[in-house]
């Protein structure tokens, strides 16, 4: 077993209730964060990890209040730095299972640098990025995922900066597990949480989340029943990329080096794009696609194996100790050039 595997000891049988803390939840009524909290609490018993070995770490934002509501260990830290704090914790305590909860501002503005590095290092932890395309806690300024021209308090005539796509960003950073899910789809969230939590390395999950106060229905394209049917592309490993209503299925295919949407029945089966989670290059193409011209990919874009940062650090330590024994300060102090004065 690698030194970084969590939950070595057997977990008792938990229920959702075991993961609910005694704190009053303080999000606005109707906020998408409630559904995410409920999904996470519901998933926890299925992870088979003793509760005391689970830690939730967050930055600052509405989303980052999350740890207070989980009856696990938790640390609500400072704006943007949760990935760095979690990295230090993993290096100190590789047997713990760590979740990082962050927002689009926390994780991609002020904490963008740490997000980049935690992903490239492939630290073994699960990152849940609540993307509501707005700064909720500071009352509604546009965020780095807001669309160009977004009108908010800080941009009365529209924002001038182009948005970042969290999935493309994560893949660009070398993430080894990247998935997208939606706050209004509890079973899918449940499935993605389990997949991400089981991943060895950094599991990055973008959760499309509704801020009903400052950016209501920003994701309506995937909430609205009609539109969801038209655009949602459920990614399933080994299955072709098909979407759209049953009577008018569409296929996402590659034409040359360009993704294209075509009528499924117009193309031979051999040209279909079969989703392969181990193909990072394909995931990068998928990550950029969005409605209205393309479907909205939902599910696991990629899941690949790569060395885990803290495993390597601990292996170096264990090697040094097994080869030369544990450090001894008294010996070190008298090593090298010394001289005696009598």
């Amino acid at each position: 077993m690698s030194p970084s595997e969590a939950g070595a000891k057997e977990a008792p049988k938990y229920t959702k209730k075991d993961f609910e803390s005694d704190q009053d939840v303080r999000w606005c009524p109707g906020c998408g964060d409630y559904a995410i909290l409920s999904a996470v609490q519901k998933t926890m018993p299925d992870l088979g990890i003793p509760k005391e070995n689970i830690v939730f770490i967050s930055g600052i934002g509405c989303s980052s209040r999350f740890p207070y509501y989980m009856n696990t260990y938790g640390f609500h830290t400072i704006h943007g730095r949760a990935p760095a704090i979690a990295t230090g914790l993993r290096v100190a305590r590789p047997e713990l299972k760590i979740f990082v909860v962050t927002g689009d501002g926390d994780g991609l503005s002020i904490g963008g640098n740490h997000m980049l590095h935690v992903l490239r290092r492939n630290v073994n932890l699960t990152i849940l990025l609540f993307n509501n395309r707005i700064y909720g806690l500071t009352k509604g300024q546009y965020s780095p995922t807001s669309e160009l021209g977004k009108v908010t308090k800080s941009t009365p005539v529209g924002s001038a900066d182009r948005p970042v796509n969290p999935l493309s960003f994560a893949l660009g950073c070398g993430a080894t597990f990247v998935a997208r899910t939606v706050d209004r789809n509890i079973p899918h969230m449940d499935e993605m949480l389990k997949r991400a939590a089981a991943h060895k390395g950094t599991g990055f999950v973008e959760i499309l989340q509704n801020c009903n106060v400052y950016n209501d229905l920003a994701w309506n394209v995937i909430y609205d029943r009609e539109s969801k049917v038209q655009h949602e592309l459920r990614l399933e490993h080994g299955k072709p990329l098909l979407f759209g209503p049953p009577d008018d299925r569409r296929a996402l295919i590659m034409q040359g080096v360009t993704p294209k949407v075509v009528r499924a029945k117009d193309v031979p089966e051999s040209t279909l794009w079969i989703h392969d989670e181990t193909n990072v290059n394909a995931a990068k193409l998928l990550a950029d696609l969005f409605a209205p011209d393309f479907p909205i990919p939902v599910g696991v874009l990629t899941a690949v194996e790569a060395p885990v940062y803290e495993d390597l650090i601990l292996q170096q330590e264990q090697k040094a100790i097994s080869e030369r024994g544990p450090g001894d300060i008294a010996k070190l102090l008298t090593s090298g050039d010394t001289w005696k004065i009598s």
Partner: protein, 623 residues
């Protein structure tokens, strides 16, 4: 120019005994002056002298050859009595090129020994150093100093002409000629350097042979060349018996952390982002994985401090280090550790600022930043080592206090302490105070902010402990329960409690030791790397019959409990600092004493001569 003195055979030379000597090797950054100085230091330590060193090098990695800003130097003072500083004025200057002469000549005493490498004084190098004519041709130079023009380059090549090395490689060994020559002048043993050469160049026999021969050639040149009529001996100093080693401040900090890791039986997680002059601590710690020190080269200073905080939350010892600009970036993180009440050690190796300032030059101007440089009321413990070797004890103490009081501890070292070295009496580590860590495991009556009555520390709980799951964070919390609280009175209470917790660290501070009379005309108060300069100046004043004492603060927050009383026992108080007056303000504010500052901010240690003058001035007499 370029004349070589013909060796005189058999002439016995006179040897004069000296109490102490200050010498400086100066040359181009490619001339190996740091190595030369370090080897001379080792030789002097072998000879049983007390000593102090001052390396000084350009920030540029490879500054253009021959330029004034590319000059690198290494100074040391060694003596048969206590040596507190690397010295102010030079007894001997070795200048390997015109630029080195130009930069350093003003520090040489009139009548001092000046040794120059003549072939380097060619047109190109003279131009680069901005000399219109060759200064060696100016007769006043030889009138004012004991000038020795030596063709080091030529003699070096001569000594190794048969070795299969190219001209550049041969050229590069000439620093050993200088080292051999100066070793002869001051009667230093060559053995440690010969040993070093053998070990260092074990894989390259020709280079080893070349360096050995050139070193000996330099030595023999001193002995035989007519120009050196006399040489000197500096008798061993009276030092506490025991086993010694050379210690630099940065290594001592690193080893202090290793000692703390071993004694606490906890891993150290060290987060750092490279910055001069703190990087060497990271380099050193990365060598010692066997002590369970886990180094993280973080993406920035913020990640470095927060990774350390994450580790502390996990029950390891979180440590981070930087210099001024990086410490500025860490402030928000330090504030989090203050309110989360987690142990954290932050090492600040101060350098000249603001902003990038002068990265390789020393300063003491981050005291206010350490004490107050965070938003809101965010008190931390602040310690400062007095000498390079003291860094070992301070790092260890920082870990001990951080864990015992669940509080961040800031250590203020500086560029001078970091790179300077001193002969260090190796301590018996079993005499260090224990670091007893007690993680809370008991469920009964547990609250995250329940406090120890003596220290006010909250319990340290390792995640993974069943039944003690809890949440902490940066939001204000209710005392005891740790639940989020916006209650006004609770906030006031918590602000006071966090301050009181730091204040209680005063119970750990030993009585202040006073160098001099317990009452008198003048007390000199110092902190940090100025210890040597201040002590030398004060002892000089005491020898001159002045009623002067000094104390040196290692604890800057909280201040020693006996400090207020001591300050009142003297008519006047002088506070020398390498800043524009920081500790002096604190003392005036805390104790309402009319303390006076002595401040120079030149990126260099304070010259003890100037402190001596300031003492006399304040006492109202001329020296």
């Amino acid at each position: 120019m370029g004349q070589i003195a013909t060796p005189a055979t058999g002439a016995e030379k006179t040897r004069t005994a000296l109490d102490r000597a200050v010498i400086r090797f100066a040359g181009d950054s490619g001339d190996g002056m740091q190595l030369t100085g370090e080897q001379f230091t080792t030789e002097s330590a072998w000879a049983g002298n007390d000593l102090a060193t001052l390396p000084n090098f350009p920030a540029e990695i490879r500054a253009p050859a021959g330029t004034l800003f590319g000059v690198s130097s290494f100074q040391l003072q060694f003596g048969s009595q206590r040596v507190y500083t690397p010295g102010d004025r030079l007894d001997c200057l070795v200048a390997m090129n015109p630029a080195a002469l130009k930069v350093h000549l003003r520090d040489l005493k009139t009548g001092g020994l000046l040794i120059v490498n003549t072939p380097a004084f060619d047109k190109r190098n003279l131009d680069k150093a901005g000399y219109a004519t060759n200064p060696l041709d100016d007769p006043t130079l030889a009138e004012r100093y004991r000038l020795h023009k030596v063709d080091m380059t030529g003699l070096t090549h001569e000594a190794i002409k048969d070795l299969p090395l190219n001209t550049k490689e041969k050229d590069r060994t000439k620093n050993f000629f200088a080292l051999g020559l100066v070793s002869w002048i001051y009667t230093r043993p060559l053995e440690p350097t010969l040993d070093w050469i053998t070990k260092r160049f074990a894989k390259n026999k020709d280079i080893a042979e070349a360096n050995t021969r050139v070193l000996k050639a330099g030595h023999a040149f001193g002995e035989t060349a007519e120009i050196f009529g006399e040489h000197y001996a500096v008798e061993p100093a009276e030092m506490t018996p025991g086993l010694y080693r050379a210690m630099t401040g940065n290594r001592a900090l690193a080893w202090g952390l290793l000692a703390a890791a071993q004694r606490s039986k906890l891993p150290v997680v060290y987060g750092a982002y490279p910055i001069t002059p703190a990087s060497d601590i990271l380099h050193e710690l990365a060598l010692h994985k066997r002590f369970r020190v886990r180094t993280i080269q973080a993406e920035d200073e913020i990640a470095a401090v927060t990774a350390a905080i994450g580790a502390s939350f996990g029950g390891a010892i979180g440590v981070t280090a930087s210099s001024g600009p990086g410490i500025a970036l860490k402030s928000e993180g330090i504030g989090l550790a203050v309110t989360a009440e987690l142990p954290l050690v932050v090492l600040n190796i101060q350098r000249a600022g603001p902003s990038t300032g002068m990265p390789t030059k020393t300063e003491q101007a981050d005291l206010m930043q350490a004490l107050y440089g965070r938003n809101s009321e965010a008190p931390v413990v602040v310690l400062a080592p007095a000498t390079p070797g003291d860094c070992f004890y301070i790092a260890y103490e920082a870990v001990r206090l951080a864990a015992k009081y669940m509080v961040p501890v800031l250590v203020l070292s500086d560029g001078f302490l970091a790179n300077g070295s001193e002969p260090w009496l190796i301590p018996d580590v079993t005499t260090l105070p224990p670091i007893e860590i007690q993680f809370r495991t008991e469920r009964e009556g547990f609250f995250p902010y329940l406090r120890d009555s003596a220290t006010l520390a909250r319990p340290w709980v390792r995640p993974g402990t069943p039944g003690l799951e809890h949440r902490i964070g940066g939001i204000e919390k209710q005392d005891v329960t740790g639940n989020i609280s916006y209650d006004p009175d609770n906030h006031d209470h918590m602000v006071r409690t966090r301050a009181e917790k730091v204040r209680r660290v005063a119970q750990e501070i030993p009585p202040t030791s006073i160098n001099g009379p317990a009452t008198g005309d003048l007390l000199v108060v110092g902190w940090g790397g100025t210890y040597g300069s201040i002590t030398a100046a004060v002892e000089q004043a005491q020898t001159a019959g002045k009623s002067v004492a000094s104390i040196h603060l290692r604890h800057l927050n909280p201040l020693p409990p006996d400090l207020g009383h001591i300050l009142r026992e003297y008519r006047k108080v002088l506070v020398p600092e390498i800043n524009s007056g920081q500790l002096v303000r604190v003392l005036r504010a805390e104790y309402l004493v009319d303390a006076v500052g002595f401040n120079r901010v030149r990126g260099l240690p304070l010259p003890s001569e100037e402190i001596y003058e300031a003492i006399n001035q304040l006492l109202g007499s001329t020296p």
